[in-house]
Symmetry: C2
Subunit: 281 residues, 2 copies
């Protein structure tokens, strides 16, 4: 690639780093790419680091030594995170999403890549300091969120299914009890879609009594995998929480009240912003 | 936000534009954001444009006039596109993915956000000049690809389902004939998950006889929506293609041979790279 001036290098470097989150990039890579001295590259990276960190959209870790380099870790600016979570709560409180039986229509939110990517960046920031080898979710609604997180953490996604398809090869299945309906259900994961002993982040769009999350935790045991954390976009109101099957999870929003008769939905921020603060300390 | 020097502006601007594909950003926005004269902003954008376009990862359209500004359109560098498609073919030819009945295990590919995002960028580039309001796919395996494309085109995703969930509200359902198995099946889309008259890009992970794609086209008629195009990651071998139900589509790869007995898979590039060339002319 042709020799670039600093201004050009900064643009290309920023693009390259944003395309390679959580990947260690050696100084030699950049100095070869731009045919520039490592000293100039280091100066470039200092400028990039300053902006990433002052703007709050990422941190740039510098690893010294022969095998060293830089690593871009996606982060979320506190104010932007706050504003985004409030915006989500506001969206959830739109009574038009109330469905018979007090269910909430959420595909307008889950169907927006832009929103999913913002949530994904938020979770990636919260779990940025932990060793995560895969993100796991259950079909169908958890998938967009899982890929958004997987993108920012640069890890693969494992999709648990409630049916069994020939295209999955051999699968590991377990039965679990849906916490809310108390029905026995089955979930399966393709044997080869997750490595034994992997460190896994479980995500889902909605958590009521936590039966599905608990099921995924049980399924992970079959793979001798470790649960690093659980992230959900929306957690149901406390009524359901009292008998919740899992207690340690990160939520973006929490429903305080869903009243079908009075056409009322009350949503408040979950614990994700506190978790984000903890990570930044 | 604090006043930035050019070097800092270039880094922040690159990040901002990459986060907002296909969105018109006014010069005033940047000059306010950086408290800099529009003349300096224009110079910044010329540098950004040069790099984006010389590196081939995007074009920067400049719209003149009061309502004008710049728009980042994700593109794919020809060599990178070529290398990526070849890499995908190589992956597909790994005989380990052969399943009983000649099915192919693909979750290692579909489960990789990094790969899905590259395919997404490829399709977003190919369809960049067309008016697209939504990407539509059918659960489950088409979803990762649909969101990757939706991200780069900045449009919502509509997920067609084969079951009917209470959380979808009222749904529009149609019956369709699976081209390969000839079985009658049902697919449904939530009434409010797609606007009437929308211009839709249909995507799926795999196309055999095209029955599913044809079904989605029929379903779109119920929404008085227009099919802008069809994109698939893998198209099946010609044997199936002879009686294929749809003929105009863009494919990343094509299977030439899948031989269960001899443990052989032969994959070649689809027509996506020719389509990319056409777009760039």
């Amino acid at each position: 690639m042709k020799k670039l001036k600093r201004s050009g290098r900064l643009v290309d470097m920023t693009h390259y780093l944003l395309q390679h989150p959580h990947q260690l990039v050696s100084l030699s890579y950049f100095s070869d790419r731009y045919q520039s001295a490592k000293s100039s590259i280091s100066e470039d990276l200092t400028i990039v680091k300053d902006i990433f960190e002052s703007q709050g959209f990422g941190s740039l870790l510098t690893i010294a030594g022969a095998s060293g380099g830089v690593k871009y870790v996606p982060m979320v600016n506190d104010n932007e995170g706050q504003a985004f979570v409030n915006e989500l709560c506001k969206k959830l409180e739109d009574e038009k999403r109330l469905l018979p039986g007090g269910y909430l229509y959420m595909m307008d939110i889950l169907g927006s890549p832009r929103l999913m990517n913002e949530v994904g960046r938020l979770f990636a920031a919260v779990f940025s300091s932990q060793q995560i080898d895969a993100v796991m979710t259950v079909a169908t609604k958890g998938i967009p969120l899982a890929y958004a997180i997987g993108t920012y953490l640069d890890v693969p996604v494992s999709i648990v299914r409630r049916d069994h398809r020939v295209t999955e090869g051999s699968m590991v299945s377990i039965n679990y009890v849906s916490g809310s309906t108390k029905r026995i259900q089955t979930m399966s994961l393709a044997r080869r879609s997750l490595e034994e002993g992997a460190n896994v982040l479980i995500v889902d769009d909605f958590m009521k009594a936590g039966g599905t999350a608990k099921g995924m935790m049980d399924l992970l045991q079959e793979f001798h995998a470790n649960v690093v954390g659980i992230g959900v976009l929306v957690e149901a109101e406390d009524a359901a929480a009292e008998k919740r099957l899992v207690d340690d999870y990160v939520s973006v929003t929490r429903l305080e009240e869903v009243n079908d008769k009075e056409r009322l939905v009350k949503a408040v921020p979950g614990n994700v912003l506190e978790k984000l603060k903890e990570v930044k300390q």
